[in-house]
């Protein structure tokens, strides 16, 4: 596993944590680096990427939380993850202009991979929100079923 996120209270991970984990996969520090970019510059880029991604995680967690508050029985996805991931990846392409990262991000392959990575983490943020909701609403059958499906109890 690349990393483990831990929250010290039984609440969802903060948006910044998801964003940093995602940035670490989009700009891997131990990955293909033909230009010999320094670790410091890679780290700086990861932070910039995380700053761009953080609002998307905040948004999707916030929307899911609002949706669950409005209807505790409905644990369906309250946002369009693919659309959000696509928009975020486009923002990252814009960020990369005039940087060493530009040559990488302009390929269709990178775009598709980036959308997949961002999408998986956005889905995870929603999934954790649903699990926490289930913990807080053990009397809601749909929430209990969701927790049982994914956690076994």
């Amino acid at each position: 596993m690349t990393s483990v996120l831990i929250s010290e209270t039984n609440t969802n991970h903060p948006p910044e944590s998801y964003a940093l984990a995602t940035a670490g996969q989009l700009v891997p520090s131990d990955g293909y680096n033909p230009q010999g970019i320094s670790p410091l510059r890679i780290r700086e880029l990861q932070v910039k990427v995380a700053l761009i991604l953080t609002p998307y995680f905040a948004s999707i967690i916030g929307r899911q939380r609002q949706s669950l508050e409005a209807d505790p029985h409905d644990l369906r996805l309250a946002s369009n993850v693919v659309e959000m991931a696509d928009t975020a990846a486009g923002k990252l392409q814009t960020l990369s202009r005039n940087s060493f990262w530009h040559a990488v991000t302009m390929s269709d392959e990178w775009l598709n991979t980036a959308i997949g990575i961002i999408g998986t983490h956005l889905m995870t943020a929603v999934h954790v929100e649903n699990l926490v909701h289930a913990d807080n609403h053990p009397d809601v059958p749909e929430a209990k079923a969701y927790k049982t499906k994914y956690q076994g109890s």
Partner: protein, 227 residues
């Protein structure tokens, strides 16, 4: 003392060739049947493989795809219990689980691991609040290729809530018994190990949430890949 080394298990590579694992995503399709094992007029059979379980209104309990007879027809292991006319069917591949390993395990886990029982036999599985024995069900995503590599990840990432325990690694394993066993402790029955992953240190959660961030889904980093 044992250890945890990140690796796909060697035994699983032979097992893929022996059709011992099915890691397709869940697929929905429509089809028709009339109180028989024959299903016709399927909207699509893409992503559906022999051995996948399926369910739907009037689908017999425990139905498994037994044969794919055309691009739009298949037979089931169990007859439908009533008329199905363009009914929605949900096809599910093997349920894969991720189980957590304790810090400083007694056993050695890595490429040579073959079965989930390797962990339980050494009493190396995590126990604690919020952790259910056997671990968590993963959500399968369809395998894809890039270049000369086939790979798959799972989405969303697995997460334990209201959790209190420590862990240093995990094993992904298949709960379904698709063949009679191939090697080592990997005999008849489910539990065959697909991969072992180290967390590079002890991870401790106390009345909180622990989420595993799987490697990105690329041909060089995905959690399961064959090149």
């Amino acid at each position: 003392m044992g250890s945890i080394t990140t690796a796909m298990t060697t035994s699983s590579k032979a097992e893929y060739m022996a059709a011992a694992h099915c890691i397709n995503a869940t697929v929905t399709a429509t089809a028709s049947s009339s109180t028989s094992t024959s299903y016709t007029a399927a909207s699509s059979l893409a992503g559906i493989a022999i051995g996948m379980t399926f369910s739907g209104t009037n689908v017999g309990s425990g139905s498994v795809v037994a044969a794919i007879t055309s691009a739009s027809a298949f037979t089931s292991s169990v007859a439908s219990t009533g008329s199905i006319s363009g009914g929605t069917l949900t096809f599910v591949a093997d349920p894969l689980f991720v189980a957590l390993i304790i810090p400083s395990p007694a056993g050695t886990y890595g490429a040579a691991s073959v079965n989930f029982t390797d962990i339980t036999g050494n009493t190396d599985e995590v126990s604690g609040t919020g952790y259910t024995t056997g671990g968590l069900l993963l959500t399968n995503v369809s395998p894809v290729t890039s270049g000369t590599t086939g790979y798959v990840n799972f989405s969303p990432n697995p997460s334990w809530t209201s959790a209190t325990f420590s862990t240093a690694g995990c094993m992904i394993y298949n709960t379904v018994a698709r063949n009679g066993g191939t090697s080592g402790t990997n005999t008849v029955g489910g539990g065959r190990a697909l991969g072992v992953y180290s967390f590079s240190g002890t991870q401790t959660v106390s009345a909180g949430v622990l989420t595993l961030i799987m490697p990105s889904a690329t041909s060089s980093t995905a959690v399961l890949r064959i090149s």
